[in-house]
């Protein structure tokens, strides 16, 4: 799960991350810890959508408008933490996509748009706990925006579009009713979280949690430098990412793996390669090797296999088998 989130942080274009696992395995805790871990970002000051000052093409309409009145289109810039937005179950559509600002509408008769959660999550993460309990139409909407990177609102007489590029992180419990196949496929990476069966590790988790609960401040201080090490790693990987190359033979083998596993569509291949590149960037190398593809193959592919509900082994085992077939044991 950690690797999947790091990969998504380094290259958000891999698509969302789906985290499956039992309750109480710390899924939410990990996602909510992200803001502390991530390097901050630069944003246009006062922009309600948190536009990237350097990306001229993908600014929101408001920034574009403002830029016309400023010398050389340079808008003031501030530092913001990367947003990690929690989508509460039971949120209604108007709050998610944004809607007519009723207050302004009532008071001034003005037709103003009030951005929703998607605007706040722009360039960051949108976390949906228990994604299988979210109403279908909301999930469709989220996936649609996540894929196009743009939120188009046509409701309550307002017509607004604004950029909304975010990494969708969903968590769920497969025991609780299956996730729709369309939904699975739209997530870039999928990881399964299990609690460790090792007593020592469990004890360590209990101990740390207890330490935190009894004295949060000291605990945070103690782990702060571990956090900053991760932060530096992410920054370095992001910088390196554009230069990471995929050699032809590595590419070939990756495609072979997808063919062997019979994944539907090319989305699998694309995600596999993107994830492998991000993984290489995190490893600090400029050439992707089979080893990096291998590491990310399970999370990039396991949810794309044609499902066979009656296969006890589950898709994880089938991916492992495929990997062994292509890359050999080891």
């Amino acid at each position: 799960m950690k690797l999947a989130l790091l990969i998504a942080t380094v290259d958000p274009s891999v698509g969302g991350v789906l985290v499956l696992g039992d309750r109480g395995t710390g899924k939410s805790t990990v996602v909510r810890a992200l803001p502390a871990l991530l390097p901050g970002m630069k944003a246009v000051e006062g922009c309600r959508y948190g536009c990237d000052p350097s990306a001229n093409g993908s600014r929101c309409d408001e920034c574009r408008e403002r830029a016309l009145h400023v010398a050389r289109g340079k808008l003031p810039v501030t530092d913001r933490p990367v947003p990690v937005i929690d989508l509460p179950l039971g949120a209604t559509e108007d709050r998610v996509v944004g809607a007519l600002d009723i207050e302004k509408a009532l008071r001034n008769g003005e037709k103003a748009f009030e951005p929703g959660l998607l605007a706040r999550a722009h360039r960051g993460f949108l976390y949906v706990d228990e994604v299988n309990l979210l109403e279908d139409h909301l999930v469709d909407l989220l996936l649609d925006v996540a894929q196009t990177g743009e939120n188009v609102v046509e409701r309550d007489g307002v017509s607004v579009r604004h950029p909304a590029r975010f990494v969708l992180v969903g968590s769920g419990n497969p025991e609780e009713g299956d996730l729709r196949p369309q939904l699975l496929d739209r997530f870039g990476l999928s990881v399964e979280v299990r609690t460790s069966d090792s007593v020592a590790e469990r004890v360590e988790v209990i101990r740390r949690r207890d330490e935190y609960e009894r004295d949060p401040a000291t605990f945070m201080e103690k782990w702060d430098h571990a956090d900053s090490a991760v932060r530096l790693k992410i920054l370095a990987a992001r910088k390196r990412l554009p230069t990471v190359q995929v050699p032809d033979e590595v590419l070939h083998k990756a495609v072979e793996l997808c063919v062997e596993l019979g994944t539907d569509g090319v989305r699998g291949e694309l995600t596999l390669l993107r994830a492998a590149r991000a993984n290489a960037a995190l490893d600090g190398v400029k050439l992707v090797t089979d080893a990096q593809v291998r590491t990310v193959a399970p999370m990039a592919l396991r949810h794309r296999l044609r499902r066979n509900v009656l296969d006890e082994g589950g898709s994880g085992t089938r991916v492992a088998r495929g990997i062994t077939a292509i890359y050999g044991a080891g």
Binding site: D22, R23, G24, T25, G26, S28, D86, P88, L89, G90, A91, T92, E93, D94, R95, V96, A99, L100, I102, E103, A105, L106, R107, L117, D129, E130, L133, E135, D136, H137, D156, N173, E175, E176, G177, D178, R180, R194, T195, D197, S198, V199, A200, R202, V203, V205, I206, R207, R209, D210, E213, R214, R307, N308, V309, L310
Partner: protein
């Protein structure tokens, strides 16, 4: 002994149901917000007694709020305050019950009627201590740290508390939860223990003990470990100790971990002998109290110490059995908890864990189209518990009339309001939900069918399950044998579970075909009412030999079966009957014809042909 008496009686390895109820009460009073809350699996009366006892020991400042399970999200978590919004003309957020209960206790009776999504949201609020409102045009956050008491009155083998919420509620009391009021810890002890809890020291051994228990009993949730730790601390604090002792963990494990166990650890090989020679003292006392037989519990009420707790050996309270116990703490704990789970209870727990609880939560909301699905145009109507007000549409409806209404109120000398909304303006939300198919399998597991082709029938059903999965159908499973028909699996989309149930389906007994058909009618009608299109698949050889009254006799049984079949036909449910006898069976054909079902003899078809038949039935449904 007088103040600590009731509390220290818990140090017996296996506390009686009564003692556990008492201990849980103390723990919740002392460390409720640390462990989320409690599930009381008992009748309303028992639970009310427990709650009343809890209130009597809590400081009067602690609020206890009752929340009906039919409450809507906006009332629970907060939403738009319609009256204030209309009065002021700007959206005003309203606090929900959980925010009102901040720092106190929320009691939810009949939790099994609460929709799963609502339960999951309650769980999220318990985690964060904040109720986040993002709906109907308002955005607000309210502090909401509370302890939840969920009263679950659902049937024995089903959980009414949905899994997402269950994980957040540390304590579980099953069976008779009433406590002996004369044994209650005094309020002063509770107050001092509340102050002491955060300072109770838990040694590394304690952490290791809890970690080991979680692993041995297959408990994946880290929350459970944390809840057990705080429970142990609370127990120590109630005993006015500053250190967690082994007895605290043992009892905490019974209250928190045992109900979550998904497996029982196998005893280490070197202990086999010891186990073999020690069964009488080790196994029989645990089963008696845990079987929750009221008479024994009642005895406990009369006497300060439950009689079944004191074996004649009068061993020290910490380790009443295993006199020369020099094994590591973890091992002793594992035994203590394992002993607290009699095998049949474990089987029951496992069944509970595997049953889907989603469907239970829906009892209150049959009118799905008012609450979920894709939103379509709002329409005029009065909002109530089920129909929700569409605020924007309402305001929009009211807007054009504002000037006119203001003039009217001026003329009537009524003080002017910024917005005048009248009853006619109210718009309610409407949703459409796609009607899915619900395939109900009715499987004959009787002796005659089992002897013949239960295996093949299972294979056919499995093939159908794959087909149903692809179509996103719901499936449910009814099996009949002996004298009864039983709904093994209520309608669900989790097909892997259906398959598991099917694989472990036992065979044998008579063929109560009439009862099976009656059950299928009930299930089919229920599925239709839930907005799905039911298709019923019978797998039977049609050789009814048990009548509706449970008696044998082929003639009566067949008559009853044909009578049930006629009723089935009258209910116009779409169905297929797959004849599982080795040669096409005239009786099966007759029943199929009487039901108006498509008749498919198993020998001449493969799974694909059956799937085809069902597809046909679906189209004509």
């Amino acid at each position: 002994m007088s103040t600590a008496g009731p509390v220290s009686s818990r140090s017996d390895d296996i506390a009686s149901a009564r003692a556990r109820a008492l201990a849980a009460l103390g723990v919740l009073a002392v460390a409720g917000h640390r462990i989320g809350g409690i599930v009381l699996r008992d009748s309303s009366a028992g639970a009310q007694q427990w709650i009343a006892a809890l209130r009597s020991v809590l400081p009067h400042t602690v609020r206890v709020v009752r929340l009906p399970s039919s409450a809507t999200d906006d009332r629970i978590f907060g939403g738009l305050d319609l009256a204030a919004t209309i009065a002021s003309g700007t959206p005003v957020a309203e606090r929900g019950v959980v925010a009102d209960a901040h720092g106190g206790i929320v009691v939810i009776p009949l939790i099994e009627r609460m929709p799963v999504a609502t339960q999951a949201r309650l769980g999220a609020v318990l985690d964060s201590g904040v109720a986040q409102v993002l709906r109907d045009g308002v955005r607000a956050e309210f502090d909401a740290e509370f302890t939840l008491i969920a009263i679950d009155e659902s049937e024995e083998d089903v959980w009414g508390v949905a899994a997402p919420l269950r994980d957040r509620l540390g304590l579980v009391l099953d069976g008779d939860v009433r406590v002996d009021e004369s044994m209650l810890p005094p309020a002063s002890l509770i107050a001092s223990a509340r102050a002491l809890v955060p300072h109770v020291h838990a040694s590394d051994d304690v952490m290791i003990g809890i970690g080991t228990l979680c692993v041995s009993f297959g408990i994946g949730s880290e929350r459970a470990a944390r809840q057990a730790l705080w429970t142990a601390r609370a127990l120590a604090a109630l005993d006015e100790r500053a250190d967690v002792e082994e007895s605290d963990i043992a009892l905490a494990a019974q209250l928190v971990l045992a109900p979550r166990a998904t497996r029982v650890p196998e005893p280490p090989p070197e202990e086999d002998e010891e186990q073999a020679e020690a069964p009488p003292p080790e196994q029989s006392p645990p089963e008696a109290p845990s079987a929750e037989t009221p008479p024994e519990a009642d005895e406990g009420q009369d006497e300060p110490t439950p009689p079944e707790q004191s074996p004649p050996e009068a061993s020290p309270p910490e380790t009443p059995r295993d006199p020369p116990d020099d094994r590591p703490l973890e091992d002793r704990l594992v035994d203590a908890v394992a002993a607290a789970i009699p095998p049949e209870l474990l089987a029951e727990l496992l069944a509970r864990a595997q049953r889907p609880s989603q469907e239970l939560g829906r009892a209150g909301a049959e009118k799905e189209s008012w609450t979920r699905g894709r939103q379509v145009a709002a329409r005029r109507g009065k909002p109530d518990g089920v129909r929700r007000l569409h605020v924007l549409e309402t305001l929009r409806a009211a807007a054009p009339w504002q000037r006119a209404r203001a003039r009217v109120s001026l003329a009537r000398d009524v003080p002017a309001r910024s917005l005048i909304v009248e009853r006619d303006d109210f718009r309610i939300r409407r949703y459409v939900e796609r009607a899915g198919t619900s395939v109900i399998f009715v499987v004959d597991a009787s002796g005659s069918a089992a002897a013949q082709r239960l295996g093949e029938a299972k294979g056919a059903v499995e093939a159908l399950l794959v087909e149903s999965y692809a179509r996103r159908d719901r499936v449910s499973l009814i099996s009949f044998r002996g004298t009864t028909a039983e709904v093994l699996l209520p309608p669900t989309r989790a097909l892997a579970r259906a398959r598991k149930l099917l694989a472990s389906l036992p065979g044998g007994g008579g063929t109560p075909l009439a009862t099976a058909i009656d059950t299928a009618i009930t299930a089919g009608v229920a599925a239709r009412r839930a907005g799905t299109l039911p298709v019923i698949v019978f797998l039977t050889d049609g050789r009814a030999n048990v009548a509706r009254d449970g008696k044998g006799g082929r003639a009566e049984s067949m008559r009853d079966a044909l009578d049930a079949a006629a009723q089935f036909r009258a209910s116009s449910l779409s169905s297929v009957l797959i004849d599982s006898s080795p040669r096409p069976e005239p009786m099966a054909r007759r029943v199929a014809e009487a039901m108006g079902a498509r008749y498919v003899p198993l020998p001449v078809v493969d799974a694909r042909a059956i799937a085809g038949a069902i597809a046909l039935a679906r189209e004509t449904a």
